[in-house]
Symmetry: C2
Subunit: 697 residues, 2 copies
């Protein structure tokens, strides 16, 4: 039979805002550059997407690369796709921002690559049907998603041989399905395998098409791929075969659209690639889901029923990780401040940082580090704080506002120098504490949580072992570990690691037990609601009538927590009352977790009464009048000051998470707890005081 199949090939190149310079340069040298060096030599067509932040970097560091792209565009061989400039998850940013982020990249492409993008790469292919409207409004004609998205709409592979049209509020958008088969074959299997797949779609009408559009980092940056794709010549061979095969027409997406009508109308549910929906599930459901997928694979029924198996939606990361939620809600909060700002110049400047604060990578966690990487979260916070500080200027306020959107108000304190969010409903803790002049949220912490992959820690192998085995398996298949003994670090927190946490400790508590979160908490204060007695510009007073276990008695204890706001910190006063008919002895401890990003950097250390105690990886107990941390890198310090020396405990908090390099330990924050032992007669109250000093240095 004479016939042909259309093959649309696309590459998506992305680096997260806040990524290290050397990582970008490495990606350029090993993937972005060599890919095009090979591509140029063949008579083929390609569609490519670069996220804006990366494209800006390329323009600055490798302007010759943009010339190279421009030449291909001019030769009609290269189509450029747009997207959100800083690669936000489109459905979870406000509709207006969707349009503006896309227009920003479109403009950059127009200005620098001499072409006007018609299509869009959708970050992580996180689709929600309502975004069709803003995509269309931003001038996007088509978007490329997974075949999985279409399966979930009830379509079969044999129907996925063209693009479809979807709509929101009357705005239409064309959607192309990426073939998962091709995504797994390229570049991991011999080129012939991709050809065999394409061959099935050859027909005389010339209508049918297949799409491959995937991460450019697969071509050189993923473990083992540089060797495979370039040194062993996989890419050259693949392009050669495409060029030589008469029944394959390699087209850009726009070319295909201009010569073929849509295959039909479609409404796609909230979707992404299956793995993403697996990661987004709460852990208990995720384990069940993985079991189901495995069961069906074993029964050979995956093919048949896969289209009805759906994990979670991206938004669930916000319910699963408080840290992701806080970044997201901070972003929305800053967004509202921008909206309300009447100074157009400030507004414009703030928006740039605000948009950078929407970059998706830090907001979630799958097979890459993401949320588990403090420097990525830091990039989000510092950009958002930069935007906020610009907007707020010298204004001060203390307001009640549900800033984390949990259904009840927090107390939001904003001064020209610092700001913090106090959460009465969860232990009267502080969940964010910003040094506004340094753009630092010192509570950029992460709680240690169970992750279903922790079960696999034992099977993990180190990279050296993998290299020796000479495989080109993908990182979806192999379990790597960056170092040995990680399982010993696994510990899970029963409360969230923020600041101003009110503990009553059992007498057998040790630093070691406390560090592992396996001590006995005697009170019901840590994660329980406090009443707000006062909330003014000068002072905040919270109170909880709670209980503490004393010798098997559930003793009524009242705790009043006063924060008096000062220029460079706040005075804390606790009034603890014994509501029992017997005397009690209590071990009260206030815990502050602070994040200093690097555990072993010499410019970040503990200090006790002016002495350096050690870097953030150190642990121990110390008696001091002034104890805390100093960060010479970001130029801030956090100190607890008492009138006389008291005992402080300190230790680093590490998580064990999975990334493209395998299991790794990551320093998340440091716990500093300040200890008080008190004895109270029946009806007696004791007052404890200290000052939390927040200094620029």
């Amino acid at each position: 039979m004479v016939g042909k199949v259309n093959f649309l090939l696309g590459i998506h190149n992305h680096q997260p805002v806040g990524n290290f310079e050397h990582v970008l340069e490495d990606a350029y040298q090993r993937a972005y550059k060599p890919f095009f060096e090979v591509f140029e030599k063949f008579d083929l067509k390609l569609t490519v997407h670069f996220t804006g932040w990366l494209l800006e970097w390329l323009k600055e560091r490798h302007p010759e690369y943009l010339d190279r792209l421009k030449a291909l565009v001019e030769a009609g061989r290269l189509e450029i796709a747009t997207g959100g400039f800083y690669e936000p998850i489109i459905p979870v940013i406000p509709p207006g921002d969707r349009i503006d982020q896309i227009k920003l990249l479109t403009k950059f492409v127009e200005d620098n690559l001499n072409c006007s993008p018609r299509g869009m790469w959708l970050a992580e292919r996180i689709w929600e049907p309502q975004i069709a409207k803003e995509l269309a409004q931003a001038g996007v004609e088509y978007v490329v998603v997974d075949d999985n998205h279409f399966h979930w709409a009830g379509l079969h592979d044999d129907e996925l041989v063209g693009y479809y049209v979807t709509e929101e509020e009357g705005h239409t958008l064309k959607i192309f399905p990426i073939s998962k088969t091709l995504r797994y074959l390229i570049p991991f299997e011999p080129p012939e395998r991709a050809l065999e797949h394409l061959k099935q779609f050859v027909d005389s009408s010339g209508y049918k098409m297949q799409v491959m559009f995937d991460d450019g980092e697969k071509f050189g940056l993923w473990p083992g791929t540089y060797e495979h794709v370039y040194k062993k010549g996989w890419l050259k061979e693949f392009f050669g075969v495409l060029e030589a095969t008469e029944w394959i027409e390699v087209k850009t997406f726009s070319e295909y659209i201009d010569s073929h009508p849509p295959a039909g109308r479609v409404y796609i549910p909230i979707s992404s690639y299956v793995e993403m929906t697996e990661w987004a599930l709460p852990s208990r459901a995720r384990e069940k889901f993985e079991n189901l997928l495995e069961d069906l694979k074993n029964r050979g029924e995956m093919e048949k029923y896969g289209m009805f198996l759906k994990g979670g939606i991206w938004r669930s990361f916000l319910a699963k990780y408080t840290e992701a939620n806080l970044m997201h809600k901070k972003m929305l909060y800053v967004g509202k401040k921008i909206e309300e700002c009447e100074n157009e110049q400030k507004k414009r400047e703030a928006r740039k940082y605000y948009f950078m604060g929407q970059a998706n990578d830090a907001y979630w966690h799958g097979v890459f580090g993401g949320l588990y990487l403090p420097h990525l979260r830091e990039a989000i916070f510092s950009n958002l704080i930069k935007a906020e500080t610009l907007l707020d200027g010298e204004s001060s306020k203390v307001i009640n506002l549900d800033v984390d959107c949990d259904g009840s108000d927090e107390i939001v304190v904003e001064t020209p120098y610092y700001s913090f969010y106090l959460d009465p409903d969860y232990g009267g803790r502080i969940i964010e504490l910003d040094y506004r002049t340094r753009y630092v949220n010192i509570l950029n912490n992460l709680t240690r949580r169970y992750e279903p992959y922790h079960r696999k820690l034992r099977e993990a192998v180190t990279a050296e072992e993998l290299t020796r085995s000479g495989t080109t398996k993908t990182i979806h298949d192999v379990i790597l570990a960056r170092e040995e003994g990680l399982e010993k670090l696994l510990a899970y927190d029963w409360y969230e690691r923020y600041a101003m946490i009110d503990h009553f400790l059992g007498w057998d508590t040790t630093l070691d037990k406390f560090e592992r979160c396996e001590y006995s908490e005697q009170g019901d204060f840590v994660n329980q609601p406090y009443r707000v007695l006062k909330c003014s510009e000068k002072e905040i007073v919270l109170k909880r009538d709670g209980h503490v276990w004393v010798d098997s008695n559930w003793v009524p204890i009242s705790l009043e927590k006063r924060l008096s706001l000062k220029d460079r910190g706040f005075r804390v006063t606790y009034i603890i009352g014994n509501g029992w008919t017997y005397p009690v002895e209590l071990w009260f401890s206030v815990e502050n977790n602070v994040s200093l990003l690097a555990p072993n950097a010499p410019d970040r250390y503990y200090t006790a009464d002016g002495r350096k105690v050690g870097t953030m990886s150190s642990r121990g107990t110390v008696k001091a009048r002034v104890f805390g941390v100093t960060d010479e890198y970001r130029k801030v310090s956090f100190k607890v000051v008492t009138t006389s020396p008291v005992e402080h405990w300190y230790f680093p908090v590490y998580t064990v998470s999975y990334s493209e390099a395998g299991f790794e330990k990551v320093y998340q924050c440091s716990s500093i707890s300040t200890h008080f032992r008190i004895a109270l007669e029946p009806g007696e109250f004791e007052t404890l005081e200290f000052f939390v000093r927040l200094d620029e240095i």
Copy 2:
């Protein structure tokens, strides 16, 4: 153990816009009224929702009923929930309309029932996460959905013992899960079964709750339930047991919220009850999905894996049924006209009809008739046309507009008297034809499609048989048929039943074959694209260079189709050309399907040259100069007028669909085809002409 469980009971009462008066009265007498007659006698609390259209009807016909509700509200026993006034599917109407429809019902409740609703009933529990914003903006504090929605978010039943908080763009909303177990027990099983279920959630904290919120029609209107619920006293017994059981606290939703914090944060994917997601799937996928569910049930794994099994989303109905899509896009089109209207009074008036045109029932099809019921579709179209006519006034225009959002433009013709949409991309057909002064779309047709339940037609039993068996099974379990022999009516159309369809028939075509859509189509014109050669205020010219099979030869035939617009219809001119080197004989036929709602009503009939030929259920062939239909009920006629008598075929189009009363045949439209036999020499053209007369009568 001393303890308790909170039980929140809700009832949702709804009637579709356009439903028959006698159906409403019956529902009132058999369900809405007796339910409260029983409820009043017990010391219990309840939450109730009435859709606005029903509440208006109740106010007019049974004002004493509203007094009864008011008294219960005043006694603190009844909470009223709001919703979209005309019960639209919230996620598929524009965001502004979501707010306005809800505010409309809230206002009505405030004005007539002396209370301000805090909660909302979500039509068909069609949830999409972004609607949280408009719900919150409309003043809704909480919404009630299925436990299924939460399962799909990865939550387990043991976590569904409180309400959750969700959020969109910083707007928070509380969400309650309805227990499916309770929904299936009440009122079908003995009250003790519901008690057994509730008992599991009793605990000393008093925190846990369970929700039952379901259709009020289950209490008296569903087959067999009047007897069961009232005559046999099920409801009295149930309420008695609730009242007498000390460990059950029957609360309203607001009472529960006011005394209990949320159980957590949640982001719910697009969801509805499982059955809805089954119905919404394309038929091929739906069959597979049903098989999977059955397999898992047989393996006893449904419980374990059910949370990951997801069918389609409601929006898919719009892709599945062109008819639903056309209503939906007409609605959006009229909505835009309202937005653009500058006359506030017209705008206000038009909005009322426009909102009625958003009533959900006609837009989809599950276990009730819905889309398959012409009078419900008619209600949608007539309201939308009313709104549109009000807005357009005396203006005329012919524009290119993608009115059905398929990605390419239709030709939209609007005159003060009629309007129509011509679709060049699909056979140059007409997909809507409105008599604007009568608010009638004569093309309110429905195509005969395969529905997976057609396989079950053989197992169906009649209602008499069911009654004899004395069961109280739900309509989810039993297959009923309203009459025998329905399987003989099953026929499937390969093209969609609209107007101005250009056929080339095989010589063996008979009326019977044509009626069953099992004839041989020789041309490639019916559903293929036409070029637009001219599009002006006076004339539209389309052309297709297509093919017709002539004795196993695929002969090039050109067809030009001119529509000259007149005041009361349009003149149609066909120019058919033979592009072959041999002479050909062709059987050309133009088909118009028109909908007259009732097959046997004496006021709707065919006429041929002034004679009545028969009602819409009649079929046959006739030779006439003027042939068509007259509708004395809606006061319109549709006639094809030729210069000399030609042959016309006519027959009724019935579908076989499933509703709460079982399988039934429904008259959808009538096919009128006008036949021409032509002979063409090589290169020769023939011109055919007729007039389509659209009269008010």
